[in-house]
Amino acid sequence: MSKVVKSLKEVFRLCGMKDGMTLSFHHHLRNGDYVLNIVTDEAAEEGFRDLNIAMSSLFPVHDNLVRHIKNGTVTGIDTNYMTGPLGEFISNGGMEKPVIFRSHGGRPNAIETGDLKIDIAFIAAPSSDCMGNINGVRGPSKCGSLGYAFPDAENAIKTVVVTDNLVDYPNIPVSINEKDIDYVVVIDKIGDSSKIVSGTTQITRDPVGLKIADNAASVIAASGVMREGFSFQTGAGGASLAAAACLRNLMIKKGITGSFCLGGITKYFVDFVKEGLFKSILDVQCFDLDAVESIGSNPFHQEISASRYANPSSKSCVVDSLDAVILGATEIDRDFNVNVHTDSNGLIIGGSGGHCDAAAGSSLSIIVAPLQRGRLPIVVDRVKTVTTPGKTVDVIVTERGIAVNPLKPELETNLKNYGLDVVSIDDLMKKAVEITGSPRIREKEKGRVVAEVIYRDGSRIDEILSVSE
């Protein structure tokens, strides 16, 4: 027996693909992913219409979708993050049905509860055998962890492996296995590994960014969570990585060994484990090729599924065991709500990813941001979009002061005792405006809803309106 099917067209037929269905995809190849474009192009060619695309994150490479929205092939998008011209297109009202934004933990929750019903899951696989045992660590298009694809494979009505590297049965190691796979289709190339490094994955050289990083590491040290067995997550932004580097120095100085690093994984975390600073890495997604290499060779660098990472309906998930997380922000408001969805003009430029999940789960959630960017204050009266609710955000770290959520008075005392420059969030906002001047607040226009923001528990926490220039 073999599940290998000759062509995508044949796969569509075998799966009983129809207009209006939901097709799902994962984003582990990030800005190097070819599979979404190939499948939607083929679907358009075959005349399918009204498809709902559930892709865990969308990158500039997926701008192809704009064309398919215009020609009616695609009429719905369900995602956790969106960057590039597609965001602008959506913000300008380019698609009739609102985009559904979820989080990395909310998506598996929605899939498992049936809020997000997947008809056909297309899983880009860097290696697969003829029965659909796949891994992300071997092959010309390797991307490391396949964590976000697990809930799709397990819950979709039909699951199709799309690979450019068919190997002998049984494929070893196995990440997603044959029990959930209906068909395997081989194409020329599923993506370009070198492009999984998108955005900054280098320590920042900006002196303000370094100052913020230094402050963030001090906050962790001062908070009391940095003790033997400490666990830590950070994003791949330059300032977050710089904070990780500062934290490393503090841990070494105090002779502390951590237990695990979590999140999008970069070379910096790989090196931490190599040098014995942390014992293990739990990896839901690799952000560079060093991480891909490591997950394929180091047994203490483990792939985890999206559900284990952050699904609030799981019996437990890893973010709940997290001691500290460092996250970014485009805006933070006086209630500590954080926006990473839209820019100062209300244009879609991102999404939660794991932002709200890690903030909710972690014992200490730290937001790092400069007090102003290009004359725009980062601390504002009201964020344009609530990505992460303020009650899950503990502390905001800027280059000109640190503000602690009033819900955490003990933390505030600890930071003050450490000699850190702790101020109220209102003072932080005042300081920002003293520097920039008062910006004219862009009124929420009477635009229509172009996106809905769904929190990790499935509740709707905000909406994004269309922007007209």
Binding site: P207, V208, L210, K211, D214, S218, A222, E399, R400, K416, N417, Y418, G419, L420, D421, I435
Partner: protein, 288 residues
Amino acid sequence: MIRRSMLFIPGNSPSMLMNSTVFGSDSIIFDLEDAVSENQKDAARILVRNTLSTFDFSGYEVCVRINSTASPFWKKDLKEILKYRVDSIVLPKAESAEDIGMLSSELSGLEEEYSISKKINIIPILESALGIENSFQIASAGERIDALFLGAEDLTADISARRTKKGDEIFYSRSRVVIAAKAASVDAIDTPFTDTNDLESLERDTLFAKDLGFSGKAVISPRHIDTVNNTFLPSEEEIEYAREVLEAIAEGERQGKGAVSLNGEMIDAPVVNRARRIIQLAGGKGIK
């Protein structure tokens, strides 16, 4: 005055200027000289002047490195920047007591014109063979002299020495500057370390300068400040005093008092800022 680290900020860079107070150096030197090309001198002095008028520099020593007295720019530099608070003028290529005298009389004129009550200090940079030879004469050329500053890059070029990381070629000049400064009871500031990425060598270089008797060191990268500050760490007494200041402030807050005094002296914002920085640098050893 604590003057462990003196951070150079290029005078024509808005992004650096607006962030000059976030890095925790003891002094900030706004640079109108080498960091600014000849055709941007006018732009830089106006930009620095506006920066001085806009931001709060309490807790910092505010210095401006003007252009040398041999240039056509230095008087215009002074006229513009002294409209706002400047503590010290850093004078490049100082070679004689006459250079100091010339600057000093220009300063006196402007202090009167602008009704500046606090006498402005002069920190001469010794960066030529002649400057080094005349170091004591320069250090004692009037009350305004508050520190001597060794500039090793121009100096080594002047004496045809090869500039190295180890710095054997400036050993004599360093010692000479320290002796001249101490003899005149002023600070001695060491030349900046120029490799922004090599923090290990920076630490070695700074410790060496401290051991020679320097009281502080100039830095050209914000990344160097912590190392330099830590090497020239404040004494136990300073740490103790800072702790008392912060405790008094905290107590004042608890009692809802606006103004707080310690041992009969008012604690104002610069004192609090400095105390906070000292405690932070001392590793945050517990304040109750």
